[in-house]
Subunit: 346 residues, 2 copies
């Protein structure tokens, strides 16, 4: 059941840097007495191989817990209802396990519980945190910064209080949306609608911006606000058909929303894609493949996003352990490209 994971060894780092194991160990564990050009060579080998020192050796000198918190800023029920989160957790779990770090998932019933989550993070129970699905005005990022816990965000956080840029992993939401809408234009569609995600999240705003990059402000009635859920997609599609009966294409902000839209189109006797073409976002399987008809969608590599978040955090922590300033830890935010996956719906 456990996937075999090849983890770079101390030996591999020593071989790559052309130094002894003892030298690698001294550098990695923050000890002194290694000349700078040599130490730098070791650090470079560590970065290139993605090496993270093993627990026993490290805990002697670094007081680490070898535990990383994951906070999904959504109620527990939604975490289990949207396969997006399971995929992101899968990537995180594999990466943390490969480095013998414990995944500590902090579940909540909603935003009212975020102060308690921040207390737990501040309580010295984990080395860092991976936080995703943030909503605007959520006090969580501020609370986490106050707690001084190293954090990597999933999705670009949106704040402008002068704090230096947060570390995050995101998809090219705007570019992906543009590609989807251009595809609908290329199909000859002219009344192209957009069902948005929750607009207090940057991913939803970016996808709306991508839609507008192609469509301009054309007909504002073609944009309906929704919330990334199948039920929200149904409501939005009904509203859309009432407002603009001539709609001939829908770009939905995610696959679950597209599912809801497909259901309503079927109910109202509109054929997909003949009458209305539909495109989603995410490519969460089996949702997209088993949709009726199978869903054309913008794929983001969600599992890889999770893996990268964990990797960035562990590297940052390793950098701190050897006393590097965060800026020198060879970590920076990542934006992954998306791919349009063509199936039957558009």
């Amino acid at each position: 059941m456990t996937e075999a994971v090849s983890r770079p060894t101390l030996e591999a780092v020593a071989a790559r840097a052309g130094v002894s194991r003892a030298t690698v160990s001294r550098v990695v564990n923050g000890g002194d007495g290694v000349r700078e050009p040599l130490a730098e060579r070791v650090r470079q080998a560590v970065e290139e191989l993605g090496y993270v020192p093993n627990q026993a050796a490290r805990s002697l000198v670094t007081k680490r817990h070898d535990a990383v918190a994951v906070v999904i800023a959504e109620p527990e029920a939604r975490v289990f209802a949207d396969p997006f989160f399971a995929l992101q957790l899968r990537g995180i779990s594999k990466e943390l396990t490969a480095h013998d770090n414990q995944l500590v998932l902090l579940l909540t019933e909603g935003r009212a519980d975020h102060a308690r989550v921040a207390r737990y993070l501040a309580g010295g129970h984990v080395d860092g945190a991976l936080v995703f699905s943030l909503h605007l005005d959520d006090p969580l990022p501020g609370l986490i910064r106050n707690a001084g816990v190293p954090t990597v965000f999933g999705g670009r956080p949106d704040w402008s209080d002068g704090t230096p840029g947060p570390l995050y992993v995101d998809s090219d939401n705007r570019g992906g949306a543009r590609e989807a809408v251009r595809h609908l234009v290329d199909l000859g569609r002219t009344r192209i609608a957009h069902i948005t995600g929750a607009l207090d999240q940057t991913s939803a705003v970016d996808r709306l911006d991508g839609y507008r990059d192609v469509m301009g402000e054309a007909d504002p009635r073609l944009v309906v606000e929704s919330d990334f859920t199948p039920g929200g997609g149904e409501r939005a599609m009904r509203e859309l058909l009432d407002r603009c009966p001539d709609v001939d294409a829908v770009f939905a902000a995610n696959d679950l929303t597209a599912l809801g839209a497909l259901r309503v189109l079927r109910e109202r006797g509109r054929r997909v894609p003949e009458d209305v073409a539909v495109i989603g976002f995410d490519d969460v399987l089996p949702v997209a493949e088993e949709a009726d008809p199978p869903l054309t969608t913008v794929r983001q590599d969600i599992e890889e996003m999770g893996r990268l978040m964990a990797r960035l955090l562990l590297r940052g922590l390793a950098g701190r352990a050897r006393g590097a300033a965060p800026a020198d830890a060879a970590v920076s935010s990542v934006v992954l490209p998306t791919t349009l996956i063509r199936r039957a719906s558009a």
Copy 2:
């Protein structure tokens, strides 16, 4: 999003016990100076109302973290694939949140990570643990006992090393299985098969025992071992049809297994229930309701099991906080009844 939860107050306990708030507070927080009959009246009111003292008051004297670990002894991927776990977590999350305790879910890639989980539990990061889906020979329960972490199990653990009985919440798996098989007998079926769950789990063994209570050892070829997954159910159903083409009923150890069996029966052109009647176990929605045909199944109240696990643990912790021996904490294991839910498949 957060469900409104009415939480018993200190005042309510004082009123019920007929004492002052200060007296309740002293008893609850383990202080001395309260005469025994009075203290006993307070404790009784606490138990009756299910009162758990609030964090601020308690943490002053008890050094609690107000955090409870949840460990599901399955790989992360299975946790998200089987709605059973989501439901149990839902109940746990609601109960812990109502008492302002943080749910700390410790995910793993498999059994190889259980030593790390035990280290985290022993590290003083949580007040107690809720552990479910244990498999025989898993070192986890032993590791947890060594760590000295108060624990409530979901499902009866199976060990016989002389340790006093563990605290657990379970369903009446054997009784539920008996009711399912009796229903198949009442329908006039004579070649009734059983697709088992993972037989290194007590729930699977108990359901098999329930089947045998009704069927005896009739025809051992009618029992096929499986693993609680849809894929396992498919494999088992194929084997069963090859071994016993005259099978006219199947009691599957859970709904996901039944789904796999239904798929194979459809594939092989057997009508359900006309040719083969099928019964599942769990009643996880929407799986059971949306099955084709809708699934007759044995319902266990999974969310309530989660809620009760959390409640037992919090009461036990409150009891320890005021210095009660575990046996006096008015907590004991609970076995919940099951209900046969009749739909179209049997």
